[in-house]
């Protein structure tokens, strides 16, 4: 059961997290200032993430999809507190069962919790220090958190490498000796070093070739099963997200437009943007070749520094009415999902059902 809370009411910590949830994000906001001149005068703000609310259940994979600039990576960074929040809360269930609101913690209090939350990055070339060996790279989280002696770290690194399918003898090699797919596995091993319960994977397979991406996705699913991991899987690849996610959230210009069960959303989207996104994906099936059936969106993605009035999607939406131009729809529960559209109940949208 996914609770949708109005962002204006801030319930007390304690009853805020549903029993099966690991993370609950509520009213999450991140505004970046736009400055001008040598005085760095603030002339505006970019609403990179605006009023995001969703839960991630324990042991599930929650997929976050959207196009570039939609704010999906920023959401992950806010959950991990790599950025400070402009507003909202992030409740996290620690390994000891206590629930904390990460948005209220200072850096020092955040530190022990970072052991339980890790991240895997998109670019396996720039996210690994080329001057560090695998031993140093994969062992670094343990050194930072003061876990284990040198010998223990060495054993653990060897164990982690074999977990991700790399030979433990490679501990003294440098990242340049490995292919893109292998480097991504090094990143996975590093993320696993401190036994986290939650991993945010930001476009973790987007830079890889098809056959290698499939290998790494299978690995991530095996690891999830083995260690009961919870994933936040961020990607623009809708085929991959459908394959790996239990539930998904669709983002458009810093806002969630639809959250729900993956199969249900893919079968029958309730938001016009989700419909357009699904219909835009080129299918590896020539018989489905779009002969005018495809919803081709007009225009460009809205500028988050200068978003349209009302519903952000209205200038590109083929169902838009006057109401959409003036009133901003709220994310509200519709048929077991959350949808941000005035007409979610009335529209009959097309999914990608086989």
């Amino acid at each position: 059961m996914s609770q949708i809370m109005n962002s204006s009411e801030q319930p007390l910590a304690g009853n805020v997290l549903a029993d099966d949830a690991l993370i609950s994000v509520s009213g999450l906001r991140k505004y970046f200032p736009v400055t001008r001149g040598w005085m760095q005068r603030k002339v505006g703000e970019v609403r990179a993430v605006d009023d995001i609310t969703f839960d991630i259940k324990r042991g599930e994979t929650f997929g976050l999809v959207g196009e570039s600039g939609s704010g999906k990576s920023t959401v992950a960074r806010l959950i991990l507190r790599a950025y400070s929040l402009t507003g909202g809360s992030v409740h996290f269930r620690k390994a000891d069962g206590n629930v904390v609101d990460l948005s209220r913690l200072g850096d020092r209090e955040m530190r022990p919790i970072r052991r339980e939350m890790q991240m895997i990055f998109q670019d396996p070339y720039s996210s690994l220090n080329p001057r560090m060996t695998l031993l140093e790279l994969v062992g670094e989280p343990m050194v930072i958190h003061g876990v284990g002696s040198q010998g223990e770290i060495r054993d653990r690194v060897a164990e982690l490498l074999s977990l991700v399918g790399l030979r433990p003898e490679y501990v003294l090699r440098y990242p340049h000796a490995f292919s893109g797919g292998q480097r991504q596995r090094i990143g996975i091993a590093r993320a696993l070093a401190l036994n986290p319960s939650f991993i945010a994977a930001d476009e973790a397979v987007s830079a890889l070739d098809v056959s290698v991406a499939a290998q790494n996705i299978n690995l991530m699913q095996d690891l999830q099963e083995k260690f009961g991991l919870t994933y936040l899987f961020i990607t623009h690849d809708l085929g991959m997200v459908e394959h790996i996610s239990d539930r998904i959230g669709v983002m458009y210009v810093g806002r969630l437009v639809e959250v729900g069960d993956t199969a249900e959303i893919f079968n029958k989207p309730l938001h016009p943007y989700t419909e357009a996104l699904l219909s835009a994906v080129p299918q590896p099936d020539p018989r489905r070749r779009s002969s005018g059936k495809r919803v081709v969106l007009k225009g460009e993605i809205a500028d988050p520094a200068n978003p349209p009035s009302g519903c952000y999607f209205h200038p590109r939406c083929r169902y838009a009415t006057d109401l959409c131009r003036t009133d901003t729809p709220q994310l509200r529960p519709v048929a077991g999902r959350s949808v941000r559209c005035h007409y979610a109940e009335e529209l009959d949208l097309t999914g990608v059902g086989a």
């Binding site: 699913q221 623009h236 085929g239 299918q283 590896p284 495809r294 081709v296 460009e300």
Partner: protein, 346 residues
């Protein structure tokens, strides 16, 4: 492999590559990036070229344009191009700086690239870049060229073409830049457009816009397209015929339906199975291809795919390089066991 005697090209043929080899001299040794690639493009058709990184698909295309790096050695092979029915040009015999080659580039052959930001000049306006191409190849004046530029920008559906013509690439979004690039490539009505991963850097909804645009332009102007991509979805959407490349070789060619519904090469089959398809009952695991693409210094003996192939037979596949087996229709497969492999449900 085709015989070495030169056969005349059939009348519908626009471009024919025959046994093309491209090597690069590197500090570490000789990299044989392209090893005997043969494919052809007929007038007005879209040939999709798919393959993973390092398969040589871009290098082959660049050798058609003679845009290879200076350390490239075009070791062998013949590239013939026939822009007009009566004039056949042997591109492989031309030098990269020759007058004929410069007339072809941007004239009869247009090219668009993955990253329009790096392919367009940042210090010239979109209009200037198109005007120069038109003035060079068409020998028209400035006014006429500017008119042509505006007309082209309108044709690629850029909003307000009369204003866009004076904009610089950094003022446009990724999708708009790619449209400007297409306008530039099509400015002299080429008979062949080479599109090297033109939608890879774009978001899906923008990708859909560009694919629809390319399809409608192709219908309107009738040029042939070589569409290079690693995305099977894009190929299924735009191509008439497909060539699948692996390690500098074409392993399979055929009509788009042959490749997707009756793939003959184990590599094509394995690749198709490793892509998650939308709206399909979820599988527990994706099918994978074991191992990884070998590095170019350690190319396997025999069939280059044999160490990763589920059907490889020791003693044959790792010893002898397979030749091309042709099937009725246009499908041909470079595999010892082509046509003998068990049928698989796709």
């Amino acid at each position: 492999m085709k015989t070495t005697t030169i056969q005349p090209m059939p009348p519908e043929r626009l471009l024919e590559l025959d046994n093309v080899h491209v090597h690069f001299t590197m500090r570490e040794g000789l990299v044989k990036a392209v090893n005997g690639v043969s494919y052809h493009v007929n007038r007005g058709e879209v040939l999709g070229i798919v393959g993973e990184s390092g398969s040589g698909k871009s290098v082959t295309a660049r050798s058609i344009m003679k845009l290879l790096a200076r350390n490239a050695i075009e070791a062998e092979g013949r590239i013939r191009f026939r822009p007009k029915p009566e004039s056949e040009i042997d591109i492989s015999a031309l030098s990269r700086q020759s007058r004929e080659m410069r007339a072809l580039r941007g004239g009869s052959i247009g090219m668009i690239f993955q990253e329009p930001m790096t392919a367009l000049s940042p210090v010239h306006s979109i209009g200037t870049q198109i005007m120069r191409t038109v003035m060079l190849h068409r020998g028209v004046g400035k006014q006429a060229a500017r008119q042509r530029a505006i007309e082209l920008l309108e044709r690629v559906q850029l909003p307000k073409p009369a204003e866009m013509v004076d904009r610089y690439p950094h003022q446009l979004s990724g999708g708009m830049r790619q449209r400007a690039m297409i306008a530039l490539a099509l400015s002299c009505d080429p008979s062949l457009l080479i599109a090297d991963e033109p939608t890879t850097a774009l978001d899906v909804t923008t990708e859909a816009q560009i694919l629809e645009l390319l399809k409608s332009l192709q219908e309107e102007m009738g040029m042939a397209i070589i569409f290079i991509t690693h995305n099977f979805g894009v190929v299924a959407d735009i191509a008439d015929r497909v060539a699948v490349m692996y390690l500098g070789r074409v392993v399979e060619t055929g009509s788009v339906d042959d490749i997707f519904y009756r793939p003959g090469h184990p590599y094509t089959r394995a690749l198709l199975q490793s892509i998650p398809k939308l709206g399909q009952a979820p599988m527990r695991r994706l099918r994978t291809i074991p191992g990884m693409v070998p590095d170019p210094f350690n190319i396997p003996e025999g069939c280059v795919f044999n160490p990763r192939c589920a059907h490889a037979v020791l003693g044959t596949c790792n010893v002898e390089a397979p030749s091309v087996v042709s099937f009725p229709g246009e499908q041909s497969v470079r595999c010892h066991f082509a046509g003998q492999l068990p049928e698989e449900v796709q």
